[in-house]
Symmetry: C2
Subunit: 255 residues, 2 copies
């Protein structure tokens, strides 16, 4: 039996598995090599005719894992992580109430898969945003916008990605996806260091920017009502991001 090389969207090689390998990241076969794979067979959905067929007539769904992740993300987007339920996900996918648990083990397993996919989307968007931009400052701006764009465009994923009580942090695939995203930011900050300030503490800035971005996205929905109460203009997310970059580069004190 041939072995398969496992790659993340971002190009990181996770390892190889042979048949009957019981590796830790065997939980997400669908999403893992769906972009970068120089090997063997891809994991394609078999049925092409019945596309959006949740009303499948066959016993087997075809790509239930994918459908469950999408249903889960949609449900979280609508009802928040608190309103999430495995049974509702199953209902939306048109399968029995225990089907999700078979694929993901538990609630945590499914949400971990959603979160992992969120990081994959984020990594891809960040890479694409950086591509072809020379000025590191502009790169950072672009990365920030990509971050916001992914978070707003995939609210279900975003709502889950940083909730350590809901997600399994020991999951290898999840951790790899997270590190991948972090790497994109890190490369950007390193470019800034090389261009602007060789003494820059990359690690520190990375964590600050990451925290801020996460905070901005998380709190954005809270700021709205808050601003209304105070009768204050509401800042757009992009304004916040650009403001952050400007402040980080030049500081509060005028030159």
């Amino acid at each position: 039996m041939m072995s398969r090389s496992i790659w993340l969207v971002s190009g990181v090689h996770l390892g190889t598995v042979k048949k009957d390998d019981n590796v830790c990241f065997s939980l997400q076969p669908m999403t893992r090599w769906y972009i970068a794979s120089n090997q063997t067979t891809k994991n394609t959905a078999p049925a092409e005719g019945d596309e959006n067929a949740t009303d499948r007539s066959s016993y087997h769904h075809g790509d239930l894992r994918r459908a469950l992740i999408e249903a889960a993300a949609g449900l979280v987007e609508e009802s928040g992580p608190a309103g999430f339920s495995l049974r509702e996900v199953a209902r939306r996918a048109g399968v029995s109430h225990a089907a999700p648990a078979h694929h993901f083990g538990s609630t945590k397993g499914l949400l971990t898969a959603v979160a992992s996919e969120g990081f994959e989307l984020l990594t891809a968007a960040m890479r694409q945003a950086r591509h072809g931009v020379e000025d590191p400052a502009d790169q950072l701006r672009a990365v920030g916008r990509a971050y916001v764009s992914v978070s707003l465009g995939n609210a279900g994923h975003a709502a889950v990605m940083f909730r350590s009580d809901i997600v399994d942090h020991d999951d290898e695939f999840f951790a790899a996806c997270g590190l991948d995203s972090y790497g994109q930011l890190q490369q950007t900050i390193e470019a800034i260091r090389d261009t602007y300030n060789p003494d820059l503490d990359v690690e520190l800035v990375c964590k600050l920017v990451w925290s801020t971005a996460q905070g901005i996205v998380t709190l954005h929905s809270d700021f709205g009502p808050l601003d209304e109460r105070r009768d204050v203009r509401t800042l757009e997310l992009t304004q916040l991001l650009d403001g952050l970059v400007d402040l980080l580069l030049d500081g509060i004190r005028p030159r």
Copy 2:
């Protein structure tokens, strides 16, 4: 029947209520005026003898609301918001399974009370931290440390304060507490503006700092394992905070 003046810990006057007034913030009588109240009776716990007596023998608990909030905060601290359950809170307080719902209406109600108390603690800590510090930059540093200190010392509260799906954002008391905390930060940033840069966009900086602080605290537990994986030194929270202040003041580009 006399009327009562309602004050927040922070000194903000919320309004007055008469008997039988069905005001929106009638849900949290215990916490509301427990510091600043220039009127009438305070809401004191009647029983002094049986202090930590969850094994009360009397039918009435005495200060069940308080006990429930504490039990809830403790439970969240142990199991995270996902592991929270009204019945477990009731169990810890030694009362029947439906008692919490009577006081707080629902899960959301109890968690909203916890979150509100978290903001009260935060406001008090921030105010105390600012007190007597002249240099606005030092003030900001002090406020940041207070923020971190409160978040780490009250992990249960902190884990709930920004989760908009778990907490009732329309609750007037909660909103007032949040605005109060925000006000403390705002005053600090205004001082920085007055001292360092009259053109500073206070609103922007406030939101950025708030987001960053929240992000730092939220992600702190995630950064640890992440750093281990990358074999990188772990930054202390205070280092992050101080680094943030320095960067905000002077920026990345050297002068």
